[in-house]
Amino acid sequence: MNWTRALRTKASEQLTWDDLLPSEQPVYVSSLVYSLGVLTLSSFVIVVASGVIMASKGALWYQTSSLGDFFRSIHFWSVQAFFFAMTMHLVAQFFMGGWREGRAFTWILGALLFGLSVVEAFTGYLSRGDFFSQWNQVQSKDAFNGAGVDGFLNVLNNGQIYGIHIAVLPLILLLFVGWHVLEVRRKGVVPPYQAKVSK
């Protein structure tokens, strides 16, 4: 089998431009609930953008200068918006049964995104470099150690935590977000539950 040809065939069948950038949607797509995923994505964009700016100037900048503090505030509030939108999105997808008819993997990717985002946010809190970071570091060490994660992670090692926060998890999140959205586009928006058949 030619892997390249197989991939091309599959991609061109399942990811047409019409699927990727649709200018039409089924009529049942008529609710603000559908904007929750998009709002999650928008907040994620701002989280990443403010984070990249902070990382490029370094910790002293965002901890001591007023412009740095402003970007730290943007990062802080966009994370709140991100988690708010994502949690609503999760709840909505649960009530819509968004995993039906071949969309289980979309749900699984979403759930993984939720879990990874929680860890990402935690490493962010540890990178704040203030009392809150200190306290969470010494408190959480017992939990990470107790769970057996100590073989991989030393939460008191700021270098490791910071690297995970600005590179390791963001790359995985970006990959999974892209994949999640591709899966949604590939399958199309999940149809509603059947109507009650009135006799």
Binding site: D18, V38, L39, S73, I74, D130, N157
Partner: protein, 376 residues
């Protein structure tokens, strides 16, 4: 080979105009305005970190007590166990968590070594003695190290007792007279080192192999016990106060940790000595359930039974009613079950029949995906 499987393809529903790029742009704009507004109006919480120097200056007795606990092995970190050490002086580790013998904490040995007597007291003081040509301090360190363990313990216990009565005057420890051997020299030098601010430098040097880098382990672990707990308690930040769930100021905190922090409020998690380990694995199991929702019988039907989706898709259901799509549908019966389980529907679709809620196929479907069916 393509199975003739009844696929409820989204392209076969009636379509309406939709502008995805516009929606995305508007959404990004709204979030940007809201976030920038909140950031400009409220900023973000920040409380400067606590340093060893501050504690040595503001509370020399507490600082000295911490150092003594590290020296004589009564401190929590001295006896912690893996991943830092194997307990103090042959005694078993005190902070190893275990659920019925399951103790992954111990699997990796001691990758982040910490010998509190050496690392927190004797080594920094040796550096201080050398740096300041202090022969008196150097010989006190040597005298302590050369003494038998029982003698060390005697001095240490006397000092521990004295520290419960000690006071601080002008930042200096004032101790009752007693038999402390070299320990009184050590402890007062330790307090001075802390007050100078160089103590953190000495500790950071240890955990970064001599170079100033990013690992603050020893510096922070010196503060981790009574010191930080006291400050955190004043801020309502302790575990039993919902700890990390809220920020330490009037800002929204990481509220998404609620299912996790909740466990620390109720038994058995709140009372077990392996509470952290239990909480971690409880959350892991809950997370696995979330991932597997589509496959868990019962759980994956909850949303079908609860009528919330009627509200979300109310326009659609109204549309079906108004057009009478369902009353004329050939799948009226099967549709009451899940579509793709309805064998009658599969058979009928092979006869070219189309569900009432599909649009009439007057024009061909735009992509070949309609034939491919994806079964999960």
């Amino acid at each position: 080979m393509k199975k003739a499987h009844f696929s409820r393809d989204t392209l076969r529903f009636p379509q309406k105009d939709f502008d995805m790029v516009k929606e995305g742009t508007i959404s990004l704009g709204i979030v940007a305005v809201v976030v920038l507004g909140l950031a400009a109006a409220f900023g973000a919480p920040y409380r400067p970190a606590i340093t060893n120097q501050q504690i040595a200056q503001s509370n020399p007795v507490l600082f000295a007590q911490t150092a003594m606990g590290d020296l004589d092995g009564t401190g929590a970190m001295a006896q912690y166990g893996p991943p830092y050490n194997n307990g103090f002086h042959g005694q078993p580790p005190q902070s190893t968590q275990s659920i019925a013998g399951f103790s992954p904490e111990t699997w990796w040995g001691t990758p982040y070594p910490l010998n509190t007597a050496q690392d927190d007291v004797l080594q920094p003081l040796t550096m201080l003695a050398k740096a300041s040509n202090n022969a008196n301090l150097l010989s006190a360190v040597q005298q302590y190290e050369a003494a038998p363990f029982s003698q060390q313990m005697k001095w240490d216990q006397n000092m521990e007792k004295a520290l419960t009565k000690a006071t601080a005057q002008g930042g200096q420890l004032v101790l009752p007279t007693g038999d402390y051997g070299p320990v009184s020299t050590l402890i007062s030098a330790e307090v001075s080192l802390g007050q100078s601010g160089l103590f953190s430098g000495a500790l950071n040097r240890e955990t970064n192999q001599g170079v100033y880098r990013y690992n603050v382990q020893n510096d922070l672990l010196f503060l981790q016990g009574a010191t930080l707990h006291k400050i955190a308690g004043q801020l309502n930040m302790k575990g039993e106060q919902w700890g990390i769930n809220h920020d330490e100021q009037a800002y929204p905190g990481p509220w998404w940790l609620t299912p996790y922090t909740f466990l620390y409020q109720i038994p058995p998690w709140s009372v077990s000595s392996a509470g952290d380990e239990m909480a971690a694995y409880t959350v892991a199991i809950l997370f696995l359930l979330l991932i597997l929702v589509p496959f868990i019988p019962g759980l994956n039907k909850v949303s079908r039974i609860l009528p919330v989706h009627r509200l979300i898709w109310r326009d659609w259901y109204k549309h079906l009613e108004q057009t009478g799509a369902c009353s004329t549908c050939p799948f009226k019966e099967g549709c009451a079950k899940e579509f793709r389980d309805a064998t009658a529907a599969v058979a009928a679709s092979q006869n070219g029949e189309v569900p009432g809620c599909y649009r009439p196929l007057s024009h061909p479907l735009p992509s070949p995906t309609t034939v491919a069916s994806h079964t999960v």
